[in-house]
Amino acid sequence: MLKYVRDLGKTGVESIQSIGRAGMLFGQSVTWGGPGSAGFLDLIKQIHSVGVRSLSIIIVAGFFVGMVLALQGYNILIKFGSVSALGTMVSLTLLRELGPVLAALLFAGRAGSALTAEIGLMKATEQLSAMEMMGVDPLKRVITPRLWAGMISVPILALLFSTVGIWGGAFVAVDMLGLYDGAYWSNMANTVEFYDDVVQGLIKAAVFGVVVTWIAVYQGYDAAPTSEGIGKATTQTVVISSLAILGLDFILTAVMLGGV
């Protein structure tokens, strides 16, 4: 009995310590190492590896999500005789919710896990300690460019997801189901507000970008330097960031809509 209480306490202390370490890591690595630091070239390389390489999955996923939204929406709305609201429905769903959330979830699976494994392996093969020995700060040299690359990439990916999805919806609604394309586009343009819908979606995506990359680099940096530890950290990255995205999504939506 006492053992369970002790275990509970241990878990509690450990998770609080871990949050503290994650906070320290973020604080120390979010700033650049001063002008002329080697990070900038690396930033471009990292945007390439986390952002550009995630493009294919984001675009394919976005297209299919948009298509299925249009198909489902058409079959629901036709019962109420208001299929002309289909464009509005597809675009608002994508811009406000699915674009940021799904792009961030896919990013966590595609790029977050890779980041964790990469940093974890650097730690296991003692590359990070070697850098320290050479007087190079591994936080600034390794973590900073990766953190920023993720924070820059996720909003762009979310935006592309929504864009492709809206055009995918138009493809199904207009070309396959024969909806009048003026109804699809003009009702959308009348209802969607740039600041309320597009910008709020971008804010959401930016928050998710920070959180997902932060979790990924922290899990890698904090992983036990064994092959088992890296595997565990990679799983943890995907699990924790997915839950964090979904939880934060509700909080952000509640704050933005102001209803709760």
Partner: protein
Amino acid sequence: MRMRNIELMVGGFMVMGIIALVLMALRVSGLSMDAAGETYTIKARFENLGGLTDRAKVSLAGVTIGRVTNISLDEEWYAAVVEMEIDKSMSTLPIDTSASILTAGLLGEKYIGLSVGAEIDYMTDGDWVQDTQSAIVLEELISRFLFSQAEGE
């Protein structure tokens, strides 16, 4: 060479993001880049808007010629004041034009329908539409119908 390719691809990625943002702004959310001066504003008082919102269409003979830009409450008249932007190309609205709030379909969005009058003077910026007709509120219609039924018996 390899680094240059990477830079090119990252640049392309950024450009795609910017293009997507511009598409979102112009095509999806219908932000117009029209310079000021291509439209003129007219105003109208309505007793009841019945769900008319900002950016609703203003149409003449079914063709959209403008948008609602601002809705406020006139505290003296206890009436709603609707400001609408009309395309400069449609600058020949007679001053006795009337405005009514209509619904697209049974459950569709509200819009303002203009019908032209017969005067020879035209409306200019800031003019008021004198003759307006409020939105039809379904509940009022139904209750009026029910009362008339009850009286008839």
